[in-house]
Amino acid sequence: MSDNIITDAVFQHTASLSRLEIKPEEASIKNQLIEAAKYVEVLDELDTRDILPTFQVNHKKNVLREDKVEASLSQELALCQAENVSNGYFKTAATINKNK
C-alpha cells in the first residue's frame, strides 16, 4: 500500500470523481487522507492470501421480491421536495452541450 502516494493530481482527480469542490480552507483534507491511508497499512501485517472476502455478514444472496405491483409515492409527493420541476418531471442541468 505504501507505494500509493496521494499526489496533488490524484487528490484533484479523486475530488472530481467524488463531484466535490474542495475549498482552500479545506486543504488539510489532503494530509488527513494521507494520514488515514498510512494508518490502514497496518493490514499488511496480516496474511490474507488464501482468505475469501466477506462483503456481507448474514450471507444472504440474490434476495428478490415477488413481481407484484405495490402502492408507491404519488407523482406529486415524489416531486414535492425538488427545487426545480417542470411539467411533472424533475428538472436537471443540461448534460449535453447543444453546440458540439
Binding site: M1, E26, L33, P53, T54, Q56, C80, Q81, A82
Partner: protein, 465 residues
C-alpha cells in the same frame, strides 16, 4: 404531577394504565424538561410539540407503547417531519414516507416528540460534526456525549424523553450510551430493518434503542425487530422476544479479551470493567481471560476503508435534484470521508484497500467464531476513556475510529451488543460495560445485562443539570 419525564418506559406504561396521569401529562412533562435544559444540551434538531400534544389527546394507551414520548435520531425518515441527518444538505427536507421502524413504533402507539442531533450523516463519535452545533454531555456540559447517536443518548440521560432510538454502524449506539450513562442495545445486523434510515455504511448499519433500563431497551427491540421485505439484508425471522430473566449466571462462560485494554485505556475504565467482571462472577458466571483475540487495531483499519467506501457510494445520491441541496452543502467531515472512499474504490487501489479490508473482515469473523467456541459471551470496555472534552474531535481524521475501536470488531462481524452503565470516573462521568454475543444471541446479551443491572444501581443515577 411533576417529574413524569423521569419515568422509565415500564413505569410510564404502568402509570398510564392505572390512570395516575394521562398521555398529555407525560408529553407535556417531556416538553417542559426540553424547554428547561435543551438550550444547554442541544440534543434536539427538530421538535414536534403541537403534533405530539394533539396525538396524546386521542392515543390508545392500551397499545404496547401507547402515549409514550419517543425521541428519534434525525437520520430516520419521519413522514411530513423534517429529516436532516444533521446536514445542511437536507436542511429543508421533509420526509415523504416513514422508515419501517417508525411505522412500527407509531403503530405501537409511540408519540414522536422530536428528532435528535447526530454527527452529520452519522459520520463520527462525538456529535460535534453536526451542522446544527454539538450536543453536550448532560453529566458535564464541557464534555461530549459521544456519537453518532449523541442526541438520543443525551436526551435519555437528561430525562427529556422516556424512550429513544438511534442507529449504529460501529459504536454509534453503544459509545454515546456509555458516555452518557444510559443503555444502548445494538442488535444483530439484519435484525432491525434499515429501510428509510439514511444509509451510511449499509453492510453494518444497525438501528436500535437507547433507553433508561435494559428492560425498556428489550421492549423496544421487540417492537423494532422482524423481517422487512423492503430491506434485502433483513433476517428472515419473526420479531425478537425478550427471554426469561435468569436468577443467576451459573453455567455461563464469559470472556474478557486482554487486547480490549489498549495502552490508552483510562485506568478507571479498566478498573470498572474488572470490577464488573467480578460482579458477573459473583452472579455465577465463569470469567475467562481471552489472550488471543485479534488486536482491535485491525478493525480500525478495516472499518476506516469499508466505511469510507460505502459512504462515497451512498452519498453519491445527494445531487440536489430530487430533494435537498446540492453537494456544495456537504461539511468537511463528509467530504473527507467521501474522498477517502472514492480513492480506495478507484481503479488501481481497489485490491490494496477495499478487497484487502474485506478479507481481513473474514479474519475478524473467524476470530469471533473461534472465541465463541470457548465462551458464551464477551465483555469489555465500550470506549477506552470516559467522555472527552468538547473540541476533542476537531481536525482529527481518525477520532471516531479510535474512540470506537472496541466496538468496531463486533460491528464488522454483525454481532449483537449492549452498553450498560457500570461505574463513574472520579470526575463523575459514566463508564459503560459492553456485552457481546454471537449473531442472533440477543437473548444472552439481554440476560447478562439485565441481571447485572438488577444487582447494581449505576443506572439509577441521574446527572444534575
Amino acid at each position: 404531577m411533576t417529574d413524569l419525564n423521569k419515568l422509565t418506559l415500564s413505569e410510564a406504561r404502568e402509570g398510564l394504565k392505572t390512570k395516575k396521569f394521562s398521555a398529555t401529562d407525560l408529553v407535556k412533562a417531556c416538553f417542559d424538561r426540553i424547554k428547561s435544559v435543551d438550550k444547554k444540551l442541544n440534543a434536539f434538531v427538530t421538535l414536534c410539540e403541537q403534533d405530539a400534544l394533539k396525538q396524546a389527546e386521542t392515543i390508545d394507551i392500551n397499545l404496547p407503547l401507547g402515549g409514550i414520548p419517543l425521541a428519534v435520531k434525525d437520520n430516520y425518515l419521519t413522514k411530513a417531519v423534517r429529516t436532516t441527518a444533521s446536514s445542511k444538505v437536507l436542511d429543508k427536507y421533509i420526509a415523504q414516507y416513514d422508515a419501517t421502524i417508525i411505522e412500527k413504533l407509531k403503530n405501537a402507539g409511540a408519540i414522536i416528540i422530536g428528532k435528535t442531533n447526530l454527527d452529520a450523516w452519522a459520520h463520527g463519535s462525538s456529535t460535534e460534526t453536526s451542522d446544527y452545533g454539538p450536543t453536550l454531555n448532560p453529566w458535564n456540559t464541557q464534555h461530549l456525549p459521544g456519537g453518532s447517536s449523541g442526541g438520543s443518548a443525551a436526551a435519555i440521560a437528561a430525562d427529556e424523553t422516556i424512550i429513544s432510538v438511534g442507529s449504529e454502524t460501529a459504536g454509534s449506539i453503544r459509545q454515546p450510551a456509555a458516555w452518557c450513562g444510559v443503555v444502548g442495545f445494538k442488535p444483530t445486523y439484519g435484525r432491525v430493518s434499515r429501510y428509510g434510515i439514511i444509509a451510511m455504511k449499509s453492510s453494518t448499519d444497525s438501528p436500535g434503542p437507547l433507553c433508561k433500563t435494559v428492560d425498556d431497551a428489550g421492549t423496544l427491540l421487540e417492537i423494532m425487530s422482524g423481517h422487512d421485505p423492503h430491506d434485502a439484508t433483513s433476517i428472515d425471522e419473526n420479531s425478537w422476544k425478550k427471554p426469561e430473566i435468569r436468577q443467576n449466571l451459573n453455567g455461563l462462560k464469559i470472556g474478557l479479551p486482554l487486547s480490549y485494554f489498549p495502552p490508552q485505556t483510562q485506568p478507571e475504565v479498566k478498573e470498572a470493567i474488572l470490577k464488573a467482571a467480578e460482579t458477573l462472577k459473583k452472579l455465577g458466571a465463569e470469567i475467562l481471560e481471552l489472550p488471543d483475540v485479534l488486536d482491535p487495531k485491525y478493525s480500525i483499519a478495516v472499518y476506516t476503508i469499508l466505511q469510507r467506501s460505502e459512504v462515497s457510494s451512498n452519498l453519491a445520491r445527494f445531487d440536489g435534484i430530487r430533494y435537498g441541496h446540492d453537494r456544495s452543502y456537504f461539511g468537511t467531515e463528509a467530504k473527507r470521508r467521501i474522498m477517502l472512499g472514492t480513492y480506495s474504490l478507484s481503479a488501481g487501489y481497489y485490491d490494496a484497500y477495499y478487497l484487502k479490508a474485506q478479507k481481513v473482515r473474514t479474519l475478524i469473523c473467524q476470530d469471533f467464531d473461534k472465541q465463541f467456541q470457548k465462551v458464551d459471551a464477551i465483555i469489555g470496555p465500550v470506549s477506552p476513556t470516559t467522555a472527552l472534552k468538547v473540541g476533542a474531535s476537531e481536525g482529527q481524521a481518525m477520532f471516531g475510529e479510535l474512540q470506537d475501536m472496541l466496538v468496531e470488531p463486533s460491528s464488522i462481524a454483525g454481532l449483537p451488543g449492549i452498553s450498560i452503565p457500570c461505574a463513574f470516573d472520579k470526575t463523575g462521568l459514566p463508564i459503560g460495560l459492553q456485552i457481546m454475543a454471537p449473531q442472533k444471541r440477543e437473548d444472552l446479551v439481554y440476560q447478562i445485562a439485565k441481571l447485572f443491572e438488577d444487582n447494581t444501581d449505576f443506572h439509577l443515577q441521574r446527572p444534575k443539570l
